[in-house]
Amino acid sequence: MTPLTRIAVQNEDFSLADEYERLQNQAECGAIVSFSGRVRDLATTPLLHMTLEHYPGMTEKALADIVQQARTRWPLGMITVIHRVGKLAVNEQIVLVLVSSAHRQAAFNACEFIMDFLKSRAPFWKKETTTEGTHWVEAKASDEAAVKRW
């Protein structure tokens, strides 16, 4: 049997198509919502690459805990959370959250909930390398505010 929750923290890239394929099995879950995030270059100084540090061991637990919280709030089918770590170039994929449910709003809410809590509660840290040096990305107040909504 396919496990209901799949959590991965990895250096390698992931394939939305493969992960989506995995969720297709559940006939009773007609709604699938996905979020994927990629490295953006929005800074005034050109971004060369990004390095993602994490807290091995705690990261997986934190993500599993967030998924579990989502399951207590909404009726959900399969959930996949993949987050990459290490060195990532501009435009590379960073994170993928896939949620299936029998209900459209549940799938949307759960996917957004997981992303909001991942952003503010899962131990990942981004360091940017631009043409002018390296710096740690600052946490945004809007991300903390997003968690407070739930």
């Binding site: 934190a62 990942f124 840290w125 360091k127």
Partner: protein, 81 residues
């Protein structure tokens, strides 16, 4: 002993990723005070009021108690996703 670990900008500011520290602090607040008492760079780096902490890989408050054998982590606000 307590395994105290640091991440990201805090790890860089301290110049170390992990230290072994004698058990004895009743809670994380007390442990933080003991670490700061070592002087710089500890006092400044651990003074950041937005630092988060975790006990045995679970986010917690500074009031969380500490026991021999615990893994206590300090880190700046997270920025994944």
């Amino acid at each position: 002993m307590i395994n105290v670990i640091f991440f990201a900008s805090l790890r860089e500011a301290l110049g170390t990723a992990a230290i072994q520290w004698p058990a004895g602090a009743v809670d994380i607040h007390t442990l933080t005070g003991q670490l700061c008492a070592q002087g710089e760079p500890w006092a400044s780096a651990l003074a950041r009021h937005d630092l988060l902490c975790a006990r045995n890989q679970q986010l917690c408050d500074r009031t969380e108690s500490v026991q021999d054998g615990d893994e206590i982590a300090f880190f700046p606000p997270v920025t994944g996703g």
